[in-house]
Amino acid sequence: MFRYVLKRFLIFIPTLFVISLLIFGLSKLAPGDPVELLLKGGSNAGNTGQRADLESSEDDYQNKAKQLGLDKPTFYFALSAAAYPKDLYKISKQIHRENISRLISLYGNSEAAMAYYQALRAMQLACADLPSEADYDSKKKIRDAVDELFFRYNNEDVQRLLDVIKEALSHPTTSTAQPVYDKLATAYKFMQDNPTRHLLYIPSISWYGFANQYHTWMFGDMPWLYSIDSTPYRQVADLGARMDALGKNRDSLNKALKNIKIRASVYTADLANPSAAISADSLRGMISQLTADSSRLTAEVASFNDKIKTLSDERDAIKKTLVTYTGKGFVRGDFGTSYKDNRPVATKMKEALFWTIIMNFLSIFLSYIVSIPLGVQSAVWKKNTLQFFTFASYPTIIIATVANVLIASFTFWGMPKWAFTLGMAIIVAVMILIELIKNTAYIRESKGFLGKTWAIIYTISMAMLLMWLWILVEMLLAAAVIVVMKFPIMTGLIVGFVLAVSFYNRRQKNELPKQANVFNDGLGNFRFGKSGLQARGSVLDNISTTTLFVLYSLPSFWIAMILIIFLTTVSYGLSWFPSGGAQSLNIAMATGANYGKYGIGTRFLDILHHLILPVVCMTYGSFAFLSRQMRGSMLGVVKQDYIRTATAKGLSEDKIIWKHAFRNSLFPIITMFSSVFPRALSGSIAIESIYNIQGMGFLSLEAINGRDWPIVFTVALLAAILTMIGNLVSDILYSVADPRVTFK
């Protein structure tokens, strides 16, 4: 057993590796430059055209890329054509890198392509260096053309842009950039004239080592064994803060200086046109005063600048020794940061998991606890239709229906909505109670702690099942009433048609010999006759299997829509449930002093009220599927000889079913268990987005639509891991259910 689990884990690792590779590959194919996305165009200063701006935006870009680990090669090794240089990844900007690689794919000459790229950058700087009095239009033309050249590779496009630059350079004020342009044009020409395309078909493998993007993503680049000394980081932050404070002071001084200069210029102007109000002497005095002030302030500003300079030097010195870490890596729970709001993915997912776990727990619990007994029961239902009701007594049904009708009408009489939920809870409690009382004898009879527990669970689940059926019946009734009220003639026609057809059919059938029925009636008295425990082919069996089948085939997102339309919209008269969200807004928003306004009971009922519809949608499908599986395997088991032996021994029916047959029929349910987690996740995508519940499914759909790849790929990888864990768990459960299963 232990060895088997160990072996499974060893298989687990390569599987995980393959899947993580797949998802990593997809994330690399995802469009968009993460760095640009994170900088959000905040550093588009390059477009203003100043050399300093260009350089600073490039710095910003490089820092961000370093933070994200994108300055590293993609993988441990790369299989590429010999034409591509090994260190292409060192060009930090993604668009530039892709453009160079495109150019290489066209001409196969990496050195020429790099030379062209360098010439292009020189051209960009030369354009930025153009004197400010240069003709604005031509300057703008050059700048735009150069910017476009960075992502153009087609010969026609490049030629067109080069021509545009050439034309703009003919303006006399911009001719300083002419030599740089000549170099660019020659570089491009050289690349075109010296292609080495054969290199594109020669494979080459280059090894990059562990400092690569995949390794960083999976395992992180932070040290594993010791924590990082954070003092230098704090020093940098500290210095930055101090510099900021000084900068603020300096800026206010600069402002004052500006004011003084303006005043001085005003006085100088006044001096030129002397007026009676102020004498020339006093003006002169004031001007000299202002001049003195300004020189003092200038000195102060200079000293501030010096201080800032020393601080920034100090900071740069420290910064040089610092290592930029990308993160701890996937295996250590660091999933990166969201592109949308820069928050860690792990935090966002933790918040979203809350609702998903609640809903899925409820839905899985409900579907298992209801479907297993139902499946077993439906496999052994007797031919006698009335016996269906023996597993749910009449009083329960009557009480439930009456109570519900009362409560449903309360909501129309202006009772608060949560009263409805409370009523449902009471009904469930009452039903459970009645079932327990009804089954006391059965519970008392069952032996041992396990047997007793099981008897109680069985009883309770029967009550739950009843609630299910009741909800279903009531919805159908409500729908039928609405339909009849809205389209009376139509329904009349349809009902008439159906009745006519069925009447006709019955007449036809009556003329046929009732061979099968005679046969069945004869055997129906023997509880464990030739056909064993099973009830295949009876009317009730047909109805129940068809219902389950229909439930299983109903797409949950459609049912969710239908429920939301017909049970939450006022215009259809049945606004029983809230139309979205997991909590009422006024309750969810109540914080601080208001928080106490709503007790825990109110909160609980409110959440329950909101979650009923989504949980119903998530549950019914798996409920139907599990019941069918359970029924199928039970039918298979019940046919076997040892069940007949047990019958012959005179064991009670319950004992045969639950003690002998049940355990052996558990296998498909166990297989199902392995797919519970991924199904839960993908199920939540639909339901949560329809009901507007901020869970995992909602988060991942939002991330997919918003191109927030870190979240998307984290969800995908986690779902894959969960599937694998599910497989492992179901393998182990196999051996628990059946000791004959051995692992070798």
Binding site: L26, A30, Y552
Partner: protein
Amino acid sequence: MLFFWKTKKVADIAAQEVPQDYWSIVRRQFAKNKLAVWSLRLFYGILFIALFANILANEKPLYCKIDGQIHFPVFRQWLVDLNIAEWEDKFVLKRWHEHNYESAIFPPITYSPNTIDKKNLTYTSPFQEQNLSPYCRKHYLGTDALGRDVAAGMIHGTRTAMLVGLISMSIATLIGIFFGAIAGYFGDDRMKVSRIRIILNILAAIASVFYAFIVRGYNIADGLNNGELFLQIGIIVGIIAGIFTVANLLAAVLKKIPFLGKKVLISADLLIMRFIEVVNSIPVLILILCIVAIIKNPSLTYVMVIIGLVSWTGIAQFIRSELLRVRRLEYIEAAQAFGYSEWRIITKHAIPNALNSVLITIAFGIASAILTESFLSFLGVGVPPEQVTWGSLLSASREKSEAWWMAVFPGVAIFISVTIFNLIGEGLSEALDPRSKQ
């Protein structure tokens, strides 16, 4: 007494006349399941709607006489799509319902899925008074926010759904049969390959990755952006097939050298089952969402191909388990004794015997493919916005919950098609089950 005798005689006569070959038995078993039979008939009906969607719902008339000339616009559209013919100017300039026809026959539903009826904008209910242009019939199932006819959308959505179901499952079947047959027929003990062949095949795998994907990386990307998915797949498959053929021909020559020709046992079953395990632990829906969201120009072909690429494992497992049984049968041994090649035994003798069980998986697979596609278009991911599908119709009802017809009809269509395929699968699995044979 009388009718017992009668029925017995009838049964005897029936027994004499009924053919006893495998497929007729299966057919008889299948016919016992009334639901499955009706599902099959319904499937034919749906297939009919899908095939003739253009004739059933179209804004163009089937036949029209205008200015003394006779036209067949619906059929001409096919020629136009094939670039054989062109539209006359008057048909391009004027909307179809605005002409003055001398006589015209319109399809039952006089709207194309993308026809915008300006007189019935913003969710016209099927029971509401509708203001109709001449030549236009009623919107039987209402309209959506833009005044597009829901019935036309449903009919063309049928085509989409069937295409997705059938194409994705044929891709899955091809892949599944390939892997399943290798794993099942060779098992862990029958695949003996010479050393040189292994080496050359590994080299060929690397080379084909290089030449099919890396060298042509930009061509593939550009091609995909131009919507040439199948062309690109064809080129890729061609290159890979070429490289492997060359490698294997070379191996056939080189294995004459004793050292290189030494046989090594490969456990094909183990390898393929591991592979299947990996594919099975991929969360399909999330993977599809990821891939589809990455693609720049969404198109249904991607959805089909991706669904096909991830859902072959069930078929492979079925084929494998069948072939593990079949390969022990005597006629396979006889075929081997005749000296037939393994390839011939697998394709001609082994696989046909295992194919029927695959039908079950295919039926269920189509159901789930249709469900996946409608879910994707419901979410609005991966399907172009102008493409009308059941899922996209359904998602329109999210914006206005009063428009019940936008929710009910497409949902019923999805439900029915999923159900019939499930029922057919169910019926097949009962009919093909040897235990239920009589």
